[in-house]
Amino acid sequence: MADVAARPARPLPHLAEPDTAPFWRATREGRLTYQVCRRCGAVVFYPRAHCTGCGGPELEWRTSAGEGTIYTFTVIRQHGHPFFAGRVPYALALVDLDEGFRMLTEIVGADPEQVRVGQRVELAWEDAGEVRIPVFRPRAGD
């Protein structure tokens, strides 16, 4: 018990947040979701109840294939939160998913020093209790 209590936990999303709760619930099934507007076709991310392109209310949830390209990244080397302080150095990136949305994520399965802009990455998951956290790793074979 003492060991478990001493290990700081990753901050988790609030499942009561109305716009983003469906996204996080879908992670339990291993699905990375995004939205497309039925009226104007805009890709919407982060999730909302309205389209950011036209204001329309009809958004369709779709599941991403989970493949993308690193648009930019950083290696976090100093952090004030105990969970992340124990994780440094680690790479965070903005990844452009092939479906046309861009998300902040962590790059795992690679030496942070080897991460590059333009690198192809694929979805991986990290279990975190009630939800799973979408992270990305260099695509196998690349």
Partner: protein
Amino acid sequence: MGRERRAAIAGVHEFGPRRAETMSALQIKALSAARALEDAGLTWADVDALYDAGETGPAAGLALAEYLGVRPTVVDTTAVGGSSFELHAAHAVRAIATGKARVALLTYGSTAHSERRAIGTGPRGNRGPASNMEAPYGLTLVGNYALVARRHMHQYGTTAAQLAEIAVTTRAHAMRNPDAVRGLHDLGHREVREITVEDVLASRLIADPLHLFDCCIISDGGGAVVIVAPEVTRDLRHRPVWILGAGEAVGYLEPGADLTVSAAARSGPIAFGEAGVRPEEIDVAMIYDSFTITVLTILEDLGFCAKGEGGAYVEGGRLRFDRPGAPALNTDGGGLSSNHPGMRGIFLLIEATRQLRGTSTAQVPGARLAVAHGNGGQLATHHVAGTIVLGRD
């Protein structure tokens, strides 16, 4: 052809100490307000418009008016982070131009250092859908700016040494500013001296590619600015510093957007256009320097150089106060080396005013035109730009 005289900065005050353990932020604001009004030759009773960024708590328009004991008939609590004060100045010009106000008061106070707030690397709050998507990843504030810097390097070949030039220039300016020098000592800096590009590159990486010296310091501090109608300027103690143009713009993460372009690319042309001034005419550029990459990005976006050429533009100390041919950058020492209590926008207006009065500690001879550009929030991903063009007669 612009350059219309609609409102002027009449009084300024910068709270000197960078550590104020025994004071509250409200006390810093009240003290600064009194000094700025005195600087203008005006009184408490003259204030009829109050602007506040809400850094001391909720319901700021009410709380601050009551605390100060002023009775404004224009209240504006625009709160967009560090650029709030540029937006306040923009709004004050409008209120004055429409006859709703004669004497506008802007104040700022913060005890960020004494509270040991880890602004750059501390845990972030999680409120609302945007942060609910990002909370699990632990992106620090520094990390956000590092994402922009990395992309800029990738896209244009910008180097860490070029970013370092900005920190070197602002430190050189800080070393001429007694408040900044005292502040660096008081904040516990071991070596208070000019720095080199090599010093910056040798400082530890906080979030690649940003080093410690690419990041602003965290201090206590505050200040106040008094903006008045043209008819009030006749009785001033100092020559008026006219607000010639103002621009505002908002930027955030969008699919496919170019992260190396900030909202300054939209607020800048509005402000310069209104002023009838071109960037190459500017003598002093007060650019929000939370991090070196903030300055590099905004210099490009405001049109001082082409997008992607900021690295070469800042090389060789080109933006030092004593180099003709380019604007002097952050002549008070900036957030990188003078003070950064969390929201630095008010100091941009204060130092620009000093320059146009001829009283800066790194004075540009004969300075006539200045720009103050604030960046609130986080550069590129969630931010608000405020550009103010200032000039003297």
